[in-house]
């Protein structure tokens, strides 16, 4: 359904007040490709600054791409104009991270969820809208009687449900969820994840689920892409990534995720990465992870590794590491 090919987004770094000139580029997303089928969930994980939120903004066409294409049913979304673009925006919606700032405090819940119909009035005649908003409230597990309340009268989890109802108002096919549960408490997080799964089964939605929490991503995703400094370093099914990770960054990320089980504690489990993520304005040559990688050799600085299948038993798994099949003990 969705095919992304070599997507690139560079933001210029500008100097000067009157005479602005670009002195560099922040390579936020730098050549990302993937596909997504109907009813499928693609999880995107990575640390802050890896480009996952920029990727989300690109897919919603909130930003123009610097290069590359994203095809929905074979049509490039960056070439769309006019009526076709309006139709595209109806099919792709977003659930934002922070339910406290992404809802207008001066609008009632009914107005917030009904606002998409103001922008796309052809979807539903005015008189049918209130009833539809009530249906949507019911769908996300809120009482339809709360239609006239304001966001501050709801808890964080309930607000996120309002955000989800708004995203579903136009019956989209693809919902991009950018860290939809990271602002919520543990006990509420599970409610929202279960709701997202239920809605997917009920409405045949496709999700792009962006998160930094590896356990949540594992739970909800069919396939996973791991991003580092604007690129996908490894992608595959949940099983490929969580049980047979071949890229050193994926391995380090998985090892560092704290498990809620004291039996699994102990210093030797965690792979220690050195230093911080380099600046996306000036990424390292060759493999971008090489500055923090224990497998790095000369070749890594000269030749950028391609994202290709490197594990014979896992044809669905693509890894961008020259030494994916070699075992070298990591620093622990």
């Amino acid at each position: 359904m969705l095919e992304v090919r070599g997507l690139v987004k560079h933001f210029p770094i500008e100097r000067g007040v009157v005479f602005r000139s670009a002195v560099g580029q922040v390579k936020a997303v730098d050549g990302v490709s993937f596909t997504l089928a109907r009813g499928e969930t693609l999880g995107i994980v990575g640390e802050s600054g890896c480009g996952k939120s920029t990727l989300a903004r690109l897919l919603l066409r909130l930003e123009p791409a610097t290069a590359g294409a994203a095809l929905l049913d074979g049509r490039d979304i960056f070439a769309m104009q006019g009526a076709e673009l309006v139709a595209y925006r109806r099919q792709v919606q977003m659930v934002m991270q922070d339910p406290y700032t992404s809802l207008n405090p001066r609008m009632t819940v009914g107005d917030i969820i009904g606002e998409p119909f103001e922008i796309h009035p052809e979807v539903l005649p005015k008189r049918a809208r209130a009833a539809r908003v009530r249906e949507l409230l019911d769908l996300v597990g809120l009482s339809p009687e709360h239609i006239d309340r304001y966001p501050h009268q709801f808890s964080g989890g309930q607000r996120q449900r309002i955000g989800i109802a708004r995203a579903l108002a136009l019956e989209p096919r693809l919902v991009v969820c950018d860290e939809p549960v990271s602002a919520l408490d543990v006990s509420i997080q599970a409610q929202v994840i279960n709701l997202l799964e239920k809605l997917q089964a009920q409405l045949g939605l496709s999700y792009i689920f962006i998160a930094h929490d590896l356990s949540v991503v594992r739970h909800i995703s069919d396939r996973v892409a791991v991003m580092y400094l604007g690129r996908i370093v490894e992608t595959g099914t949940v099983e490929d990534i969580y049980q047979h990770a071949t890229h050193p960054y994926t391995q380090a990320l998985l090892s560092a995720a704290p498990e809620p089980d004291p039996a699994l504690r102990g210093g030797s489990r965690i792979i220690r990465l050195e230093g911080d993520v380099p600046s996306p304005a000036n990424p390292p040559s060759g493999c971008r992870f090489r500055t923090r990688c224990w497998k790095a050799q000369q070749r890594c600085s000269q030749e950028e590794p391609a994202l290709i299948a490197r594990r014979p038993e896992g044809p669905t798994q693509l890894s961008a590491c020259h030494f994916a099949s070699e075992t070298i003990d990591p620093p622990r």
Binding site: G157, N194, S215
Partner: protein, 326 residues
């Protein structure tokens, strides 16, 4: 023998114009040298207020300490006048805050901020405080400390800023370090580095560490004992292995069941129904009963007392023994 830091039956309320929020309703725990106690709870459970009450940095009003004691080396800090309290707590108890960017002053150099306590309290000269600040920065593994001591907070990454915060807290060599969500704003690989650092400092210096967090994963990795908080009470307290293996309170059990696991495939998550109570209207009886899968009529009427259970664990549930025997 008295404990290094002990909190006894602490009650704190927040008075607003139209209601009184009962934020802490009898919190008791203790921590000793070299030990890590985790205060685990969701937003509004009272874990940060507990830390602020210990540090004496509650905003009063609206906050009001109704009753209770905070004993540091046997002296009740709450009974002292503010000036005396500062001296008594003084170097002994230090705190690391969650959000290093807003906890650091953006217009002062980090070295200056780290050295501030040394200049004010120990009367060190500027040069001596600066030298000590560099040592502390090296101690918390900030690379090129000597070159970075005159940088401003915004020039550091999130993980490095949290290290600056820790260096600042360590300046007076505290015996108790309270860390309020120290890694919540950080990425996982950086989180692992910071937790390592805290663990290492605790072992080197024999500090007591009070770790305040909502993250069941972080707790499992570093805590010795856990106190689970709900609606301003500690509902369960136990050794970390015992608690994860067999929770003695339905809230703890529900929390553990509601998180997705990294190494396990997903059946639907068991979410906890409902919401935590409004602290201005805590339900009668056990505050967890409206959300509890095990509630019985007694839970609606009577607040469960804290039961002592085998293995030195505590639970505030009428049916705790059944949970352990099941």
């Amino acid at each position: 023998m008295s404990h290094l830091l002990e909190v006894r039956d602490l009650h704190v309320e927040f008075r607003t114009r139209d209601a009184i929020a009962h934020v802490l309703n009898g919190v008791s725990f203790h921590v000793d040298a070299g030990e890590t106690l985790a205060l685990l709870g969701e937003s509004g459970s009272g874990k940060s207020v507990t830390a602020q009450a210990i540090m004496g940095i509650l905003d009063t009003p609206p906050a009001l300490v109704r009753s209770g004691q905070v004993l540091y080396e046997g002296r009740d800090l709450l009974a002292l006048a503010p000036e005396e309290r500062r001296t008594a707590r003084g170097a002994g108890v230090a705190m690391v805050f969650q959000d290093a960017l807003s906890a650091l002053n953006p217009v002062f150099r980090v070295g200056w901020q780290i050295g501030e306590a040394l200049r004010v309290r120990q009367g060190l000269s500027r040069a001596a405080a600066r030298r000590r600040a560099i040592e502390l920065m090296e101690h918390v593994c900030i690379p090129a400390a000597a070159a970075r001591v005159d940088d401003y907070p915004h020039q550091f990454s999130g993980g490095m800023r949290q290290r600056v915060m820790i260096a600042m807290a360590l300046a007076l060599e505290p015996k108790v370090l309270i860390a309020d969500e120290p890694t919540t704003a950080l990425d996982v690989t950086v989180q692992a580095q910071i937790m390592d650092l805290l663990r290492q400092l605790r072992d080197e210096r024999g500090m007591a560490l009070v770790l305040i967090t909502h993250d069941l994963g972080v707790v499992a990795q570093v805590a010795d004992r856990i106190a689970v908080m709900y609606a301003g009470r500690i509902v369960e307290q136990a050794d970390v292995h015992a608690l994860y293996a067999r929770p003695a309170h339905p809230y703890t059990r529900a929390l553990l069941e509601s998180v997705p696991r990294l190494r396990r495939d997903g059946e639907p998550l068991k979410a906890i129904a409902g919401l935590p109570p409004n602290l201005t209207r805590i339900p009668p009886g056990c505050p967890f009963h409206p959300r509890c899968p095990m509630e019985i009529p007694l839970c609606h009427e009577q607040l469960p007392a804290v039961l002592e259970l085998p293995g030195g664990r505590l639970s505030a549930c009428h049916r705790a023994r059944e949970l352990l025997d099941a």
